[in-house]
Symmetry: C2
Subunit: 387 residues, 2 copies
Amino acid sequence: MNDFVYSCPVKVYFGAGAAQKALSREMGRYGKRVMLAYGGGSIRKNGTYDAVAALLREAGKDIVEFPGIMPNPTYRKVQEGAALARAQKIDFILAVGGGSVIDCCKVISAQAKTDRDIWQMEFEDHEYPAEFVPMGVVVTASGTGAEMNNGAVITHEEKKVKTGVLGAFASFAALDPAHMMSLPARQVVSGGFDTLSHCMETYFGSPRTANVSDEINEAVMRNVIRNLRIVAEDVHNEEARRELMWDSALAENGILKLGKVTDFQAHMIEHQLGAYTDCNHGCGLAVIHPPLYRCLYHGAVERFAHFAEAVWGVDGDGKTREETALAGIEALAAFIRDIGLPTTLAGLGVEPKEEMLRAVADSARIQPGCCRRLTPDEIYGILMACR
Amino acid sequence: MNDFVYSCPVKVYFGAGAAQKALSREMGRYGKRVMLAYGGGSIRKNGTYDAVAALLREAGKDIVEFPGIMPNPTYRKVQEGAALARAQKIDFILAVGGGSVIDCCKVISAQAKTDRDIWQMEFEDHEYPAEFVPMGVVVTASGTGAEMNNGAVITHEEKKVKTGVLGAFASFAALDPAHMMSLPARQVVSGGFDTLSHCMETYFGSPRTANVSDEINEAVMRNVIRNLRIVAEDVHNEEARRELMWDSALAENGILKLGKVTDFQAHMIEHQLGAYTDCNHGCGLAVIHPPLYRCLYHGAVERFAHFAEAVWGVDGDGKTREETALAGIEALAAFIRDIGLPTTLAGLGVEPKEEMLRAVADSARIQPGCCRRLTPDEIYGILMACR
């Protein structure tokens, strides 16, 4: 166990009536003016909007609407929200949505409290916001785990960069599986794969000697895989949906990352693919992971072999460690096919132009802690292998 | 996954220099007058006292000493601490010790803020304290996980009851394995067994259908068992000590309990045995667990069989589920012998008088959520089987 400092200040309400419980217990602490932020309007169709708005009115709040947060939320949208929050003297931001809505609000929460440009502040001056408009979350799509941390993935269109920005922690998060039951099957499965990716990208970081964070991670990965197989067959299976909703939060509440430096190269590559193509995040990760791991495993054969045995049930008897490692990667690839996620860029709806893939490879921001830090040429090779 | 509400407000500093980091970063938020609470004085011998006192003085604090908190801390000691905190207008309580010191301080923190008697308030009026003197923790002995929650185990001598009382959460906890390296081997091992017991008593609560909390729990149990075997052979193994220190916190930070109602009958029986005999907590649990489980498993054969396979590596092939379940309990019993913990009341240093055991059985406070709720006669039978 390496050294760490840990706190997760988000209070979680999980299960039936979570939004009702959370809003009635928590909203009394905050002022009257609430920004209600959401996405493309599906919550207006499935009843979640009406339920949440009624709870806010019951709590005596004035609602200021901020709709239209897009998948892959943009920096422009952050600025629009921050301007609205300032103009309307917003006391509290309630994000009702999935990772895109939540992430956008985390950065609005910070940007509304400072005259400095948050992007310049974080990426050029390397300073981080310290003041935030308080916020809460009602989760309507899971997988990103955005409700549990203060990282936000934002796309800066002019700069053609999609990357992590630090914003606010939510004070509370309501996770009611009922709010997610109208999601399309593809989104449920791709969200679950995003969770699995968070687990794997933590697991293949360093150190890779035995430690309880990784052993817990193996348990969460097995749970995600089992329940993803169930929802791929029957998207209405409520128990599997509940497990996946909590798995998503667990993968990003920090518990799996304690004492670890994470890898997250698949995410960094996918983020840039998303910046260039606006592809679905979980599906993009599904395409990238197997070719990435076929390239990475040489740097960590024993860890990949252990992953194969502990997570995929590969029998290592009579195999070299390298063969076992590769069998694990092929089990992951077969799983992606089994649950119906895309396995190529074409399947992802992306035209695999070499120039664009080169630009993605050259702009991917690879972080420290990697299993083996890939060069832009290697990333380009991986993307070409995804065609 | 059943419904739950979860937050753990304790900020953890884990690893080398944790106390230095925690005190220098956190103490600025609190007033000048700090109660420095500890136990029998071992921290004065091993240098921890001097280091912590110097850090408090550096932070500009006045130190008010509160030494002499005993193992199995008493309600009288709580009242003594609360009176001192009031008289000295204490702004912050720093508990430096293991579970006994931490638990005593949690209740002092509550009692110092009210004129009502906390015992009467919680157990007769069923009301819980809402105001606390803020507190922090420097852990010097682990196993109880007391640093992560707001439950405190206190012995009321006149009432002959040792039980859980709700008190304060620490704002921060410093977990530096270096502060524990001078602990006697027996205390390291019995503390680790307390952690394993917390895991098992959560695992055998309800529900017992597959869920991610229990799968994580299995991972933590395997980690505790592996590392306890290491420290039983070599108490100075630093990596194993580090893992056990974080396992202890994990077992009680709530993550394993999400969506579960816990069992905790072994703890409830041991608490009363402790109230009557002042025995070591972890050792008492070691004596009680196998006979308790031999009596309990009929109510949850499949869960005990799964425990045998997933945690102890029992091969269920060619065995009935009952045989597999029993093989797991015998593996637990063998493990207790292997790591040198007592297996009988005599080994625990307790004279097994029938009248005393009857009183223990009759006064054990069995809670809801049990695997199978034992009657006082059954508990008496279990205690007689411990002779």
